[in-house]
């Protein structure tokens, strides 16, 4: 599948990346689209996430076309207005990647054949893209339970940190401080 540099954001990744002072990691995408409904959600819960100087967020009104099958899916999964809008937009911009941390939204997007990832993927991608060192990202992962409202089991976070150490040839002691 052809890669694209466009992403469409649900509220979760914007909020979680901002909590980690890592919104700049979105800056190397050619466009970061934020549906109006998502914008309103973030504005309500964490307005400062919309003011990051290092990334340009494009607020966009999503056109709603009649789609009974889609409507049934989103209601079955109890998706909120923001998630619905983000998925609708991702369907309209079919080569763009959807970013969401909502499991139900991600399940729906996956079922619709969309490319979808979350905050964790963006954090780890930062090493591959030269935006952060492996050590930086390991420290971000370790700080996640205290700094972010993204809830991931600590043993899973430790396992992911170990995967990073293995991938980038770091020993646990060299990456522990």
């Amino acid at each position: 599948m052809a890669a694209t540099n466009e992403v469409i954001c649900d509220a979760g990744p914007l909020i979680h990346l901002d909590e980690l002072s890592a919104l700049d990691l979105l800056a190397d995408f050619s466009a970061v689209f934020v549906p109006q409904e998502v914008w309103a959600e973030v504005e309500h819960h964490r307005p400062e996430a919309l003011l990051c100087a290092e990334v340009s967020l494009s607020r966009i009104t999503v056109q709603v076309a009649a789609d009974p099958a889609f409507d049934t899916l989103v209601h079955t999964l109890s998706l909120g207005a923001g998630e619905q809008a983000a998925i609708r937009l991702a369907r309209q911009r079919s080569t763009a990647m959807l970013l969401t941390d909502d499991a139900a939204a991600r399940l729906a997007a996956e079922g619709l054949g969309l490319r979808v990832h979350g905050t964790l993927g963006i954090l780890i991608r930062a090493v591959r893209r030269g935006q952060r060192t492996p050590q930086d990202v390991i420290e971000l992962l370790q700080s996640l339970p205290n700094r972010s409202s993204l809830h991931i089991r600590t043993d899973l976070l430790s396992g992911i940190a170990n995967q990073l150490r293995t991938e980038y040839g770091l020993s646990e002691t060299s990456s522990g401080g």
């Binding site: 540099n5 999964l77 109890s78 499991a103 139900a104 990832h117 993927g121 930062a126 992911i160």
Partner: protein
């Protein structure tokens, strides 16, 4: 829900979230805050199955490490 065993909990929650919940109750969308919290918790648990979340996390790790974009 009348036959479901229940218990009480004490939790610290953001004042603003509580105010929003109270506004929904006051507007008549929920009988009381208990019903609102039960519905919110049920919806969260329905959509956050651990095995699903773990699969998504591993997809993110694989893409983060080895993706092409």
């Amino acid at each position: 829900m009348g036959t479901t065993d229940t218990t009480s909990i004490q939790a610290h929650i953001p004042i603003r979230l509580l105010a929003e919940g109270e506004a929904l109750v006051k507007a008549g969308w929920f009988r009381d805050l208990d019903d609102l919290f039960i519905e919110a918790l049920r919806r969260y648990l329905d959509s956050h199955r651990p095995e699903l979340t773990e699969r998504f996390l591993q997809q993110d790790v694989d893409w983060g490490l080895h993706g092409g974009d």
